[in-house]
Subunit: 227 residues, 2 copies
DNA sequence: TTAAATATACCGACCGTCGGTCTGTTTCGC
DNA sequence: GCGAAACAGACCGACGGTCGGTATATTTAA
């Protein structure tokens, strides 16, 4: 029962495996997806898989890298823009990411649901850790610029950037929680808006920025997330 | 080759398994510790294990619960104290926890090393998540009291408590990172102190508390952590 | 007082699945 | 047509978990 062989270049096969992995991990979670599941999805054998990847863990690494590297250059470009003031950059960052997220609302909700599956701890943690390592230097750069411009009053951009990321991540977690279980709160939209307000205030106070200068998301956008 | 049987009450056996689990998880990590390892350590059989626990995961749950519940009552009592002002409670909380941590320095360093093993993701995440659920309401209580007393200016104690926890957790992570790899930074003590200063400032600004009113740890204590 | 009956603690062979290895075969550029 | 890359799939040991059965403790009743 020899099947038809169509050898392809490494790069291409890797992408096929990663595509299958992305889909399966999002459906069943990382732990619950066996290597055999991947093989079946791609239609290849164990030998093929271990020819292109060292381990199952390597797939996770490659996949998380792929998920992040698409965003990086664009954001890096925005942060590096020598013409834009820090506050403008922040607003651009937020509005762009808010718009993009809303456009991909359904896919993101599915992803969030998948990520909170318990069989996806590794994927989730790997992703947030890589996001952190990617985002913190950018935040630090933005904070330093703001401090130079006099709109922020902070002594240590790097340390503060870490806290900023932690704050935003925590806020995102809480909002996702409500989004995934809207019935847990009596007024989910209201709850999210309060969370956002608290985060924004904490943020602005921490950076000693003028109140209202670091918007996160307006209530209309939140409402749109609940259909 | 029937081995000698010594039946014991459930409670006691569970504790024996949990003791073994605690030790083994700290040495090899959760994933790398097999149920058979536990059996060997306790000197019992598979049947015995699955008589007392539903699954390996159940051991993790029970263990993390046990690790946390010992602290809870004491802290709860401190927070509930009707006589102490909020700022006093904060200082007491910090000094007590700092003192306790320093006293258990070696054990905590070992634990931190174990927790960052990669084969301990589940244990680590479960523990921090349970800590969060335990700590956030207490923080919220403290923040509300402070707001009532006029030393804090915050609108939403619950949301702010979440941010507070995230901030402290992130700071703890970064300091632990330096502590476990002191050679990564040129001046580890200095780096920790800067992190602490940034956190304290962020904290005080977020709560609109007077500068210096929410101390975290003094440089002498940090120095003590690096021998 | 003790023997039967029941409940609980425990044993260990066994099972399916998993990630990973190994030996061999096919494909393809040169 | 040759050598290397791409692939096939049988195989391996370890894992978490199950199951039928046994030993011990406790209650019940004669």
């Amino acid at each position: 029962m020899t099947r038809v062989r169509t050898n392809k270049p490494s790069e291409q096969r890797r992408e096929e495996f990663l595509d299958a992995a992305e889909q399966l991990f999002m459906q069943q979670g990382y732990d619950s997806t066996s290597v055999n599941d991947l093989l079946k999805a791609v239609g290849l054998s164990k030998g093929a898989f271990y020819h292109h990847f060292d381990s199952k863990q390597a797939v996770l690494e490659a996949l998380t890298d792929r998920m992040l590297t698409s965003f990086a250059p664009h954001i890096q470009g925005l942060i590096d823009d020598p013409a834009l003031p820090a506050l403008e950059k922040w607003r651009a960052l937020m509005s762009q990411s808010n718009r993009w997220k809303l456009e991909h609302k359904d896919a993101l909700l599915l992803q969030a649901r998948a990520m909170h599956q318990g069989s996806n701890l590794k994927l989730r943690l790997t992703l947030t850790e890589k996001t952190r390592r990617l985002a913190v230097p950018l935040y630090a750069q933005l904070l330093a610029q703001g401090a130079r411009e006099g709109v922020f009053d902070i002594e240590q951009p790097e340390a503060t950037a870490e806290l900023l990321f932690a704050l935003l991540a925590a806020q995102g977690e809480r909002i996702t929680e409500i989004l995934l279980a809207p019935d847990s709160a009596p007024e989910p939209v209201e709850a999210c808006c309060q969370l956002l307000a608290a985060s924004q205030q904490a943020l602005e106070r921490t950076l000693a920025a003028p109140a209202g200068s670091l918007p996160l998301a307006d209530p209309a956008l939140i409402a749109a997330w609940f259909e």
